[in-house]
């Protein structure tokens, strides 16, 4: 019921909306004695206002590093960045997030871009009451203390918590409640964008569903865009408008989520879909993707997936494919001839748009 | 072989064990070294040399108020201090391991009682008690002294061992062993003890330091064994005849430095081991 309704409203939102966050060819490398780890290696993604975009991938794909870098929440030194991330501020300015100094970044956080970390049980300060933890973010971004306190009950209600939760300490809350508090903090300053990193991991399925519903509702009520990272495809399917599949530091496929799930174009995406058991289809053997995730210190040549790809061709081992828009209509896809919806992009030699020569001539 | 790795990887352990080993070697070689310095004279004999000589080629640290060569005095005192400290460390570690083990393994009532006793010992200031005990015991030899010291320092090891045993007890491979009907004893000796070895070693190092501290406290007050000269006694006697006001501080510099080296060495060893065996303590990347 819900996804369909959301999808319709999404299309309406998306068409009209201006770009909010434009990641342009972002590369994040880490220098270490073992060499250079190219964890994120050239990704381009645009998020529009009011849009929910998901980044899907396994561990090691670089998706977490990608979002952590956006807000400079980085744990390691020796980081090198290339590319730009253009963000449109409240004031209408476009700033490159990669170039911001610590003070500017601090002001931007929470106020314009909020972060929801993994459903970790430890993201709240154990010795400070919940209400105060909602308030302190606001106060440090210019809201007066009294005014901030006044807003707390409203914020809590928005995420589905009773106002009295403000008086409690984090250890007195359940996992789902803690995650809601974190979401409450994230919306407290009405940011334009919320970045959520695996927001439902470590929560049980029911709670998961509730949290996703809450996030979706917040987008509708507040008009906030959401960038969600998760390895869990069903989660993407429940929440996001568009999904970008990441592999080996690069985005290999994007498109409307239902479209990607029904007709995956990239062999890796197809492998991911196949690995999800279906309740409706007849029981069949689950297929994994053979091989293991490569190491960011040494990505494979050519297409990074070629050594695990059941459809690999000779060109795949030598020439890396570009991510490119795929022409809609009846197309020969990895699943045979299928009807491809507009707005899809893929980086795979199975689709001529992706191969450099085709680029040069078209 | 674990210790070889430890030596290689932990700077603290390396430094600490080198220092400690040097001290031990020095102690072991004290006899020939003394002979080298003062020939056949008895280092403790009063009046072997003129009193209060300044440091010279003959007497590297001069002589004390009783005309004894300070260097040889220190050389014979070192092994005694070391012996008492390590002996006390060994006794208290053994006691601590036994009690800590029973406490951790059996759990329940026994654990509660033992833990209360242990905590009591930790909280109560034991030095005053040691002082009193030592002062009132006739003929306090090294061994008795070590026993006294051990009696008050075992709780530290007991606590560490107890928590280690408790965490080991819950580990899956122990459950497995229990399921395969191994007797308690087999589990203890086969699975648990080998994993406790590093913690016993750490406990020993710490207990030795603690005992050494207490030993210094006692002997410096003049309550140590009267038949033997140990490092603390040198300090105590020196203070007694007023070296500071006479400007002859050099006399107790050597014992103080050696003792500090002992404390540092053992502390570094135990810290190095702790960091190595407890990955959580290692600095984060």
């Amino acid at each position: 019921m819900m996804p369909a309704t959301t999808a319709e409203t999404q299309r309406a939102h998306r068409q009209g909306d201006a770009p909010l966050l434009e990641i342009e060819n972002l590369a994040i490398h880490f220098r270490s004695p073992k060499g250079v780890a190219r964890v994120v290696d050239g990704t381009t993604l645009t998020i529009h206002r009011n849009e929910i975009v998901g980044v899907a991938g396994e561990s090691g794909s670089g998706k977490t590093t990608l979002v952590e870098a956006l807000l400079q929440i980085v744990r390691f030194p020796n980081r090198e960045t290339r590319g730009r991330v253009m963000f449109t501020t409240r004031a209408g300015q476009k700033v490159d997030l990669m170039q911001l100094g610590p003070r500017q970044m601090r002001r931007l956080r929470l106020d314009e871009i909020a972060y929801v970390p993994q459903g970790s049980m430890n993201s709240l300060n154990p010795v400070v009451r919940v209400g105060t933890q909602i308030v302190d973010g606001m106060v440090d971004h210019g809201v007066g203390e009294r005014e901030a306190r006044r807003r707390v009950p409203g914020i809590l209600e928005r995420v589905g918590l009773e106002p009295r939760v403000a008086k409690l300490y984090p250890h007195e809350l359940s996992g789902g409640m803690k995650q809601r508090v974190i979401i409450a903090i994230a919306i407290s300053m009405n940011p334009a964008l919320i970045i959520a990193d695996e927001p439902t991991t470590a929560l049980d399925v029911n709670v998961q569903r509730r949290i996703l519903e809450t996030l979706s509702r917040l987008r509708d009520e507040l008009g906030v865009a959401i960038l969600m990272v998760s390895h869990d495809l069903p989660v993407h399917a429940q929440l996001v408008d568009r999904v970008a599949v990441m592999y080996a530091g690069q985005i290999v496929e994007t498109g409307d989520v239902r479209s990607v799930v029904k007709t995956p174009l990239h062999p890796y995406a197809k492998g991911l879909m196949q690995a999800i058991p279906s309740i409706t289809k007849p029981r069949e053997r689950l297929e994994g993707i053979r091989g293991t995730t490569p190491s960011p210190f040494a990505w494979p040549d050519g297409c990074r997936f070629h050594n695990r790809c059941p459809y690999a061709m000779e060109v795949c081992a030598n020439v890396p494919p570009f991510i490119a828009g795929v022409r809609a209509g009846q197309r020969e896809t990895v699943d045979g001839v299928m009807d491809v919806q507009p707005g899809r992009e893929v980086a795979c030699h199975l689709y001529p748009e992706s191969t450099p020569d085709a680029e040069a001539t078209s | 072989m674990v210790f070889v790795n430890l030596f290689r990887e932990s700077g603290k352990f390396r430094l600490g064990s080198i220092i400690t080993l040097l001290l031990i070697v020095l102690a072991l070689l004290h006899q020939p070294l003394v002979e080298w310095r003062i020939g056949n004279a008895d280092p403790m004999k009063v009046g072997s040399f003129p009193i209060f000589l300044d440091p010279s080629g003959e007497h590297w640290l001069g002589t004390d108020r009783f005309g004894r060569d300070v260097v040889s005095l220190v050389l014979i005192a070192l092994p005694i201090s070391l012996t008492v400290a390590f002996l006390a460390g060994a006794i208290s570690t053994t006691l601590g391991v036994v009690i800590g083990f029973v406490s951790g393994y059996k759990g329940g009532r026994i654990d509660a009682v033992l833990r209360t006793i242990t905590d009591m010992f930790i909280v109560i200031p034991t030095l005053p008690l040691i002082i009193i005990l030592a002062a009132n015991t006739r003929n306090l030899g090294s061994v008795k002294l070590a026993l006294v010291l051990a009696f008050f320092s075992w709780p530290v090891a007991a606590r560490v061992i107890r928590s280690q045993v408790m965490s080991l007890r819950e580990r899956p491979y122990i459950e497995l062993s229990k399921m395969t009907n191994l007797s308690d004893r087999e589990i203890i000796f086969g699975d648990i003890l080998p994993n406790m070895a590093p913690y016993v070693a750490i406990g020993f190092a710490q207990a030795s330091v603690g005992s050494a501290f207490a030993l210094v406290g006692l002997t410096v007050l003049g309550l140590g064994p009267s038949s033997q000269m140990d490092l603390g006694r040198i300090i105590s006697e020196a203070l007694g005849y007023g070296v500071i006001s006479l400007g002859k501080e050099l006399i107790f510099v050597a014992p103080v430095v050696l003792l500090i080296l002992l404390f540092l060495g053992l502390a570094l060893v135990s810290q190095g081991m702790e960091e190595f065996f407890n990955p959580r303590l290692r600095g984060q990347v």
Binding site: I73, L168, V207, D220 | M120, V123, L264
Partner: protein
Amino acid sequence: MVAGNPPATVLDDEPAGPQLSAVPRKGALNPTARYILRRLGLYLITLWGSLSASFFFFRMLPGDPISGIIAQLQTRGQYSAIEGSQDMVEHYRREFGLDGSLGEQYVRYFQNVFTRFDFGPSVLSYPTASTDLILRALPWTLVLIGVSTLLGWLLGILLGTLTGWRRRSRWAEWVTNTALVFSHVPSYFVALVLIIFLAYRFSLLPANGAYDASLQPEWSLEFFLSVIKYATLPVLATVLVSLSGWMLSTRALVVSILGEDFLTFANAKGLTPRRILTSYVMRNAWLPQIAALGMALGSVVSGNVLIERLFRYPGVGNLLVDSVVIKDVNTAMAVVTLLIFMVLTINLIIDLCLPLIDPRVKFTS
């Protein structure tokens, strides 16, 4: 509009969370009260146990106390008789509470101690009561211990926080390494060094006694200044060592807190560095250190004994050593009793107050 649940009922099918069950039920003895009672009980038992243990400890020390006492008194010219007659021995037995069976002595001793704070006459300055000797010495010890412990703790956790917060800077490394060395050296040795250099070589500060010998204890500025002057070296020696210990442990705590998830989130929230340092780092690091203060008290007291002796500071530690050396059992026992009582009581207070400041600590049985 999507699944329009009014907020009140969105409070879900989710379990209400553990906090509701922690609310005390009316009527039943709630866990808090139960815990307090148990803790108090433990305190009283420990107190009684250790006091009894020390009683028997002293009573079972080798040697006959009476002849020792008489010998002491003889050497001080209080008695000219060559050997004690039976009457004299009986007299002193009674005086010092050593008549009757062990059981009777035990009961009588405790009665005296708890009702009249009477520990019996001392030998050090017979016939002055031990209690009086202690009362005279106690303020000095309290001053010394109080000031050094608090200063060492406070400065230590402050420095520890700073070196943990800025642990990559050069000065932080230096300070940390220095502290590492100091923390393993007994305060006694530090005191010796200070005495050599500051008292003798450069005659900057005195190293003997609690105040200038020419002054009388009185409420005057001159006296206070003198007290401060004479307390400086002992306090300095103790503080240097204890500060290092606190600094290192606080630093370790701070470093581990910095790696915690809630710190990352605090950063992501865009909180000011100042707020992160105070509300997030310090508050989490200092709480365990308050509890640790209680635990450390035992060793503080022990170390203090040696320092007092070295500086001839007229506190109870010095008194203890003096009384032990001449086998003044009453005084020695009184000092030990006092020390044990102080340590246990302070620990009790800290334990009971801890939940007031640390919300995570709940009274659980």
